[in-house]
């Protein structure tokens, strides 16, 4: 029984991966495109059920690890398999669960699209790749899945490929992710060289190779190899680079706002809940690799990203972009948690964030869907994603309003929500972490606090501008516009998600994050006891100030009379997203293109020019030698012949054929001889 059991789960897990993949295969092979939604949803539902089953049986149990030989290269055999532990089953449930809801939502949301069968196929590919990513037991397989989710994200961002902005955003996303992938790949090189394997369990498990390797007098020594200790840091940074790109951290974050060009359902699933969390997941998976330097880098990056994205979100007007920057900011929070060693807190936040951010996007999608309907019906021209065109919608779309409200409260982290639990877990750990360090590090927790208040502000701004006050679009039109809540396929997933944003799913006690089962599922943390005052003061302080911030926001955006200067320097800095796109364009894209052109010029003119020059020199040389040949060497031969001919021509004059001439000649000769003879005798 003991031996059979793990295999069963592994096989089931494989089935869970393959089911959504079938939807993609079907897209490639099948001629008949109708019914693709049915296949996709059946596949993902079954996956979800299997995941729940595996989850309920293996959570907090011994990990399961099964492998088969994949290929052999040299003396190394790469084994591929499935690793089921708390981290992977949690992610499995999260991915399949949210995917299922988004699938259902998409039925209505994407209904009118003529290429919807592709949409289902792409989603299937994404789910399969994401599941493979969380279950892979080998970094090489993980990398493959990593790129495949990037690829499916490329396909889905560029789903409306006839729109230039969409196809550009897709390309940008893929290339930005590629930069991170290069880092990931370099990390793989280093680990493979150092340890001769890429097996996650062997490397990072208990008594794994990474832990048993030592750093000794600037040498990083494993059982089979050694290299300078810098490479340990480089390896950490390299892997983190992969995570940075995938999780849209500074400096590789600019693809995520652009990725909002894809369908909103896709944004909610891939660019908010699951794929972008893969970076955090990766950091958690290979956590033992990071040394202090790398952890500090992770902390600072996460903190900076959280702050930067939050300040940008303050001034955006595109509803999806606000949410995108919010996602970046929250991912920064998770990274921060990783950096300070609170892996459990980071993963917990990942889980709670997945639900409420997915819901925020779905609700935004519902708004956009309704407005798009209106735009089409009344033949209007306005930007359906701009919150300046909304306002007062809470009475028109109550379900959307209440679900979005719940999600926003969770994002702010008010009590009774999931966000309260996870955010506090991170903040408190940050204070504890800073306490054990130098004074300068207290910047970290205080900045994190600031970020959470900024969060409260921007999301309140969104809610107030969209749902409160007057509908600004109505201004200037005589006829009354109406909007309705979304159809059932969209409504119910939102309601389910809203329920998931509340505390009961995560913790029995709404106020104490320490009781959360997810945190308890990840061992190795010692701060679950309420050891110090932070555990009480911080939640109270955060929430009090958050509510104050929300009130200010209400006064600014709902009550008339307050207006903010929107053209000062800071405002524009934030609105233009800290000018990162311009900076990258000027500093990277243009130089690379110019450099490529220069290289091509070099290629044409210098390298190929040299070849052609050699050719031309050859031709010139042969021309010269041809000239020499014709006018000197051949001429010499010809002239000799010519001389003979001239002599012949001269002497033939004597041969007239007339006897008498011959005789004269004879006479002359005889006389000459005679004269000569005579005179020579005389002399």
């Amino acid at each position: 029984m003991e031996a059979v059991e793990p295999q069963k789960y592994v096989l089931l897990a494989l089935v869970a991966v393959l089911l959504p993949f079938c939807a993609f295969i079907r897209l490639l092979l099948a001629k008949n495109t109708s019914g693709s939604a049915f296949y996709a949803i059946t596949g993902i539902s079954l996956s979800f059920i299997i995941s729940i089953f595996i989850f309920s049986n293996t959570w907090n149990e011994q990990f399961i690890h099964q492998q088969v030989d994949w290929f052999t290269i040299g003396g190394t055999t790469f084994r591929v398999g499935i690793l089921i532990n708390n981290l992977s089953v949690l992610m499995m449930v999260l991915v399949t669960g949210i995917s299922l809801l988004v699938h259902v939502y998409s039925i209505a949301y994407m209904k009118k699209d003529p290429l919807i069968h592709r949409y289902w196929g792409y989603l299937g590919l994404f789910c399969a790749a994401m599941l493979l990513l969380v279950m892979a037991d080998n970094l090489l397989v993980l990398y493959m899945a990593w790129e495949l989710v990037g690829f499916s994200s490329y396909l889905l961002i560029g789903f409306w490929f006839t729109k230039d902005a969409a196809s550009q955003a897709a390309r940008k996303a893929f290339i930005m992710n590629r930069i991170g992938d290069i880092g990931f790949l370099i990390g793989l090189f280093i680990l493979y060289t150092q340890f001769g394997t890429l097996d996650i369990q062997k490397l990072f498990g208990q008594d794994g190779l990474v832990l048993s390797a030592t750093v000794h007098s600037d040498l990083w020594i494993s059982s089979i190899n050694q290299m300078p200790a810098t490479w340990l840091t480089i390896a950490g940074i390299a892997f983190f680079m992969g995570a940075v790109a995938k999780s849209a951290q500074f400096p590789l974050h600019t693809w995520l706002p652009d990725a909002m060009e894809g369908p909103t359902s896709v944004s909610s699933l891939i660019h908010a809940a699951t794929m972008v969390a893969a970076g955090v997941f990766l950091v958690a998976r290979i956590f033992p690799l990071f040394n202090d330097t790398v952890l500090l880098v992770i902390t600072i990056t996460g903190l900076f990203t959280a702050l930067m994205a939050a300040t940008i979100a303050l001034t955006q007007n595109d509803i999806k972009r606000i949410l995108a920057f919010s996602t970046i900011s929250q991912l920064g929070f998770m990274m921060l948690a990783m950096g300070i060693g609170a892996v459990d807190g980071g993963i917990f936040h990942l889980a709670t964030h997945a639900f409420f951010k997915c819901l925020l996007f779905l609700a935004a999608g519902a708004l956009i869907h309704a407005l798009a309907h209106l735009k089409e019906k009344d033949d209007l021209d306005f930007d359906i994603q701009d919150i300046r065109n909304m306002g007062g919608l809470r009475t028109l779309m109550p379900v959307t309003f209440y679900t979005m409200l719940v999600a926003s409260i969770a994002l702010i982290g008010l009590p009774l929500t999931s966000g309260y639990l996870s955010k506090d877990a991170i903040l408190i750990r940050a204070f504890e972490w800073a306490e054990s360090k130098a004074l300068i590090f207290t910047i970290v927790p205080y900045t994190a606090l600031l970020v959470s208040w900024l969060t409260a502000f921007y999301i309140s701004r969104l809610i107030f501008k969209v749902f409160f006050g007057k509908w600004r679009l109505q201004k200037g039109f005589k006829n009354i516009f109406t909007l309705h809540d979304s159809p059932a396929e969209m409504k119910y997933p939102m309601i389910i998600l809203a329920v998931c944003c509340l505390f009961p799913l995560f913790s029995s006690n709404p106020l104490l994050f320490e009781t959360s089962w997810i945190l308890n599922g990840f061992h190795g943390t010692n701060s679950l006891q309420r050891v110090n005052a932070y555990h009480t003061i911080i939640p109270a302080a955060v929430n009090t100030i958050s509510i104050m911030v929300m009130y200010i926001c209400y006064r600014w955006y709902v009550k008339p009379g307050y207006s903010i200067a929107n053209n000062n320097l800071l405002y524009r800095f934030s609105e233009n997203q800290w000018y990162f796109n311009c900076i990258y364009d000027v500093l990277v894209v243009k130089p690379v293109n110019t450099f490529a052109k220069a290289i091509f010029w070099f290629e044409r003119k210098v390298v190929d020019g040299l070849v052609n020059l050699t050719g031309r020199a050859g031709l010139l040389f042969s021309a010269i030698s041809a000239w020499v040949d014709e006018y000197i060497i051949d001429a010499a031969v010809n002239n000799l012949a010519l001389l003979a001919k001239k002599i012949g021509d001269f002497t033939r004059h004597f041969q007239t054929g007339r006897v008498q001439h011959y005789l004269v000649t004879m006479l002359l000769f005889v006389l000459t001889v005679f004269v000569l003879k005579y005179f020579s005798q005389l002399l």
């Binding site: 041969q655 007239t656 054929g657 007339r658 006897v659 008498q660 011959y662 005789l663 004269v664 006479l667």
Partner: protein, 101 residues
């Protein structure tokens, strides 16, 4: 007694006349006559010089021999001239240049 020099002078004159005829005459018969002149100049010399060989008279014998040869060669030459005339309808040696090739 006529000195030897007179014979030789006559002979030289004869030879020169013959030579001139051979080289310049436009008629093969005249050329033949010129040849005969030159032969006779030679014969005259033989006879004149035979005074130094009184015992054997080699010069005179040779002269006779040469006269016979001359007669024979005239016969041959005339035959050639006839044939040339037949072929070319002329006996002007300057018009016959077949020897050229």
């Amino acid at each position: 007694m006529i000195p030897l020099a007179h014979f030789l002078i006559i002979s030289a004159i004869l030879f020169c006349i013959g030579l001139y005829a051979v080289l310049s005459k436009k008629n093969a018969i005249q050329v033949l006559i010129g040849i005969e002149f030159m032969l006779n100049a030679g014969i005259l010399n033989f006879v004149a010089f035979s005074k130094y060989d009184r015992i054997n008279s080699g010069g005179q014998v040779f002269a006779l021999f040469a006269i016979v040869l001359a007669a024979a060669s005239v016969a041959v030459a005339l035959a050639i001239i006839l044939n040339v005339y037949k072929k070319y309808n002329t006996i002007d040696p300057s018009k016959i240049n077949e020897l050229r090739d």
